[in-house]
């Protein structure tokens, strides 16, 4: 009789079920060819390999740690690599209270990121100052940098952060590759005194 610690009926992994593929964009396909827009392909690649830069200053940062860890697993969305250098990252995730003294630092980090770049404001403090309606706290990071997605909550649960992240993925996937050269985008950055 075998000792019980040996599993004589191991469960075979179903590799086919474990791999998920991003759906192909709209296009015309046939034997050996597939034609689609360049922006769809670029968007597909960008949205499924976003490199987030966590800018965590307080409790929302703790929720982000849970979001990144195995239980909620942000890596499922193509964001395995959380970068800590703004020069390598696409997505600035601002999580937590930003004091007025921190505002120039946040802005500097944003300026160091290369285009295309996206910003997500996680939590009430980053979005609006939250409960800190006071002389020392920036009343929302959109006073110093443009923001793409706001996640409400104090702090938001990991599901909410993931929902905001998926909203960012939608934006990234649908973005025209010419958007960053457009007059509207330049006007937006100019309204923040950038460029």
């Amino acid at each position: 009789m075998r000792p019980v610690r040996f599993n004589i009926h191991p469960k075979e992994a179903e590799i086919a079920d474990a791999i998920s593929m991003a759906p192909a964009p709209d296009g015309i396909g046939g034997d050996g060819f597939f034609a689609t827009q360049l922006s769809s392909v670029v968007g597909l690649a960008r949205k499924n390999s976003l490199w987030p830069l966590p800018f965590a200053t307080s409790c929302c940062g703790i929720e982000f740690m849970a979001t990144m860890a195995s239980h909620y697993d942000l890596a499922r969305f193509g964001s395995e690599r959380v970068g800590f250098s703004p020069r390598q990252c696409d997505l600035l995730m601002v999580m937590g209270t930003i004091a007025k003294k921190m505002a120039p630092v946040l802005r500097q980090v944003y300026l160091q990121m290369a285009e295309p770049r996206w910003v997500i404001a996680v939590g009430a403090c980053a979005s609006s100052g939250g409960i800190f309606d006071t002389y020392s706290v920036l009343q929302g990071i959109d006073q110093v940098i443009p923001v793409d997605v706001y996640v409400p909550g104090c702090p938001p649960r990991p599901e909410a952060i993931i929902d905001g992240f998926m909203k960012i993925q939608d934006l990234v996937g649908q973005e025209s590759i010419r958007r960053r050269n457009s007059e509207q985008y330049k006007a937006l950055l100019n309204s923040y005194g950038i460029q």
Binding site: K100, K101, S128, D133, T134, Y135, S136, Q139, G140
Partner: protein, 166 residues
Amino acid sequence: MALTNIFIQEKLVEKFGDQVSTFATDTDILSFETLAANNLKVIQFLYDELGFTFLTDLCGVNYPDQKDAEIVVVYHLHNFIENIRVRLSIAVPVEKPDVFTASKLFESANWMERETYDFFGVNFIGHSNLKRILNVDEMDYFPLRKEFPLEDQTRIDKDDEMFGRG
């Protein structure tokens, strides 16, 4: 003999007469007031004669209703050997909040006086580097003075309308 609050009070009255006043004991700590002009003399006397060699805290208070004594600066001193504390306060008018610096006696007063300047605008005469320490340098007011409202009354981004209650 052991240092007691009564002994300290007697010594102070003996030395400074009616320039020290309003003696009180809150939670075993002797508190008293003196004139702004001789804060350093009193602190030096406490240091030399009574062994209060440690400055625990230095902070400001704003009493907007006290005419000509709106800004109060409080010193907490500690005698390590006897384990006894005293609390000394001086009051200055808000129009001219001039106080002599204690940073020549206690190095630790340097940052605490900068903080008190930062939040209450107390002008510490003789301080080597009297500039803001915690708030942004561009701030043009002293935020813990009660003449400033807690929030900007003109802002509209946190009105009820912004939260769907308008």
